[in-house]
């Protein structure tokens, strides 16, 4: 029952995010920018590997987008705490479970929709990737396991930061992680210590998993292998860690919410405006 109410909540929020102009823009802006980039990369070869740059970049971008759900869920959580959404959830029976399930459904659903928005037009644009040769099953499990690995971690990050301003601080390290995650540049070209850090993040493995689903050969990867086993292991560890940590951190955060806390934050925000 709690799950069902949360599921409904997620679907309502998902629908809202596709019927509201500002959010609609954010769903389409990023994919469109990426498509423009892919369009200019489409005929560029990647060294002597026989790959085209566009074909390499597309699955990596898909993987990165999905991993970025981590950032968006943490932002949403911080915002919802500040404006009292979370307190409202706390005031009703099973409200917090419903809230969290709803958030996972709406963010996860939004990511899958965004993925389709980018992937479908890109298939017509980029040579070397075709629907026929794609491994849809691989794409499916990488995506799902990736979401389970990243969304709870995002929720933990969202609970740690109390204001939208301090929450903005995670953007910078996140950009750094993206830079070394092998999305825009093969990770093998990095100094080995950066290569190691890159391979700890779920971003790298989601990119790798996506490439394994959409590209014909792992010639430019580490060890020349798709390393599915390692992908599942690393994402699995993140997933378990996140699922263990998230309920504890969320509960601790929720416990501290009260009407006067929200009122305090409202006053602070109003003062900032004035």
């Amino acid at each position: 029952m709690r799950i069902r109410v949360g599921w409904q909540r997620g679907l309502i929020e998902l629908r809202q995010s596709f019927t509201n102009p500002a959010e609609l823009l954010s769903h389409f802006l990023w994919p469109i920018l990426m498509l423009v980039a892919l369009f200019f990369l489409r005929n560029r070869d990647f060294g002597s590997t026989g790959f085209q740059l566009g074909a390499l970049a597309l699955p990596s971008i898909l993987g990165m987008n999905a991993a970025m759900g981590m950032v968006s869920i943490s932002q949403l959580l911080t915002a919802d705490r500040a404006d009292g959404t979370l307190l409202r959830a706390k005031a009703i029976p099973n409200g917090l479970v419903g809230y969290v399930v709803g958030k996972v459904v709406s963010v996860g659903g939004g990511l899958i929709a965004d993925l389709a928005i980018l992937l479908i037009p890109a298939l017509f644009l980029v040579d070397g990737i075709s629907l026929g040769s794609a491994h849809w099953l691989t794409l499916g499990w990488v995506l799902l396991l990736g979401l389970v690995a990243t969304l709870p971690i995002g929720a933990v990050l969202g609970s740690v930061f109390t204001t939208a301003r301090s929450q903005g601080l995670i953007q910078l390290p996140m950009l750094g992680l993206i830079a070394i995650s092998g999305i825009f540049y093969p990770i093998t070209a990095l100094p080995s210590w950066l290569e190691w850090i890159g391979q700890v993040t779920p971003i790298y493995w989601m990119g790798l998993g996506m490439r394994s689903a959409l590209l014909p050969s792992p010639a430019v990867e580490v060890d020349g292998s798709w390393r599915h086993l390692e992908t599942a292991a690393v994402l699995g560890v993140w997933a378990v860690a996140g699922l263990l940590l998230a309920p504890v951190v969320l509960r601790r955060m929720a416990r501290r919410e009260s009407g006067s806390k929200v009122a305090e934050r409202r006053e602070q925000a109003l003062r900032r405006v004035a």
Binding site: D80, D83, K90, A91, P93, N94, G259, S260, V262
Partner: protein, 287 residues
């Protein structure tokens, strides 16, 4: 008793914000916690809501310690929060319907839950705005939605923290009607905090005056007025010169005035001690 508070204490570090607060409330009773800002009203109500842990004392809401209340217990509570900008993208009816669905598993034949959405919209006067996005509501409409959310589960106890802050007089009077109806028709026990004495005396069966973490007086409006004998104020003029006197027995004073000055007394004015003066006197005495 629906609410029992006995020897409640709360301290943050070295500062004690509640010292020995005790009161109780029965079914259908409306109790107002009245006091200036910082008196400890919100802290008290948040402890009862289960949102804050107390330092000492016995607290029971519907027979359960709020610190140990489960979801079934919570389903019988209504909390009216001060909304700000949460759920701005939701539509009024959609949110009310969704939040109501959390209460459905706790329905009994005697207490059907949740309150049917359309009936509730009608009861709080939001039918015309049912399809509107919440962020487009006016302050008063938003507040009525807050109340609707607080009562969608047909609570046995309702908590209202500063319910009419920022209301215009019309919205305030409509809100008062709604609260009185809830207590009378649904037998809901209502605890509200306010720093507005007029509101407390209009709504509450019983007023608890809280200042600096202590309940310094409690009773009905009439009892409170009598409790602290406020002084009446008499003003008059003699030969155009104004005079003014505070007295506990204005009738006797005026009788004496006429006996002494007779026809010379003009522009006589007697202002009886109001509850407002009583309240201010009480609060001033404490601080």
């Amino acid at each position: 008793m629906v609410l029992t508070v006995d020897g409640l204490r709360m301290r943050y570090g070295d500062t004690e914000v509640l010292h020995d607060v005790s009161f109780d409330a029965g079914p259908g009773e409306v109790v107002a916690l009245l006091g200036p800002n910082g008196a400890g009203k919100s802290t008290t109500i948040e402890i009862l809501e289960g949102f804050r842990l107390r330092s000492a004392g016995r607290v029971e809401v519907l027979g359960v310690d709020p610190a140990a209340g489960d979801e079934r217990w919570r389903s019988r509570l209504g909390i009216v929060l001060q909304s700000w900008r949460d759920h701005g993208n939701w539509r009024v009816r959609e949110l009310l319907h969704h939040l109501g669905s959390y209460y459905a598993p706790y329905a009994t034949s005697a207490e059907p839950r949740p309150w049917p959405t359309d009936e509730l919209l009608d009861a709080v006067g939001l039918t015309a705005h049912a399809g509107q996005k919440i962020r487009t509501l006016s302050g008063g409409q938003r507040r009525r939605l807050d109340v609707a959310i607080g009562i969608v589960g047909r609570p046995n106890v309702l908590f209202l923290d500063e319910p009419t802050a920022g209301f215009d007089p019309e919205a305030r009077s409509e809100f008062h009607d709604l609260v009185r109806r809830l207590a009378a028709e649904q037998d809901t026990t209502i605890l509200l905090t306010t720093h507005d004495l007029d509101e407390a005396s209009k709504l509450a069966h019983r007023i608890l005056v809280l200042t600096a973490g202590r309940i310094i007086a409690a009773g009905t409006t009439a009892q409170l007025t009598k409790l602290i004998a406020g002084e009446d104020e008499v003003r008059w003029t003699i030969d155009g010169r104004p005079f003014r006197k505070s007295t506990e027995d204005s009738t006797a004073f005026v009788r004496g005035l006429f006996a002494t000055y007779g026809e010379a007394v003009a522009e006589l004015e007697v202002r009886r001690a109001s509850l407002e003066d009583t309240y201010l006197a009480l609060v001033r005495e404490q601080s």
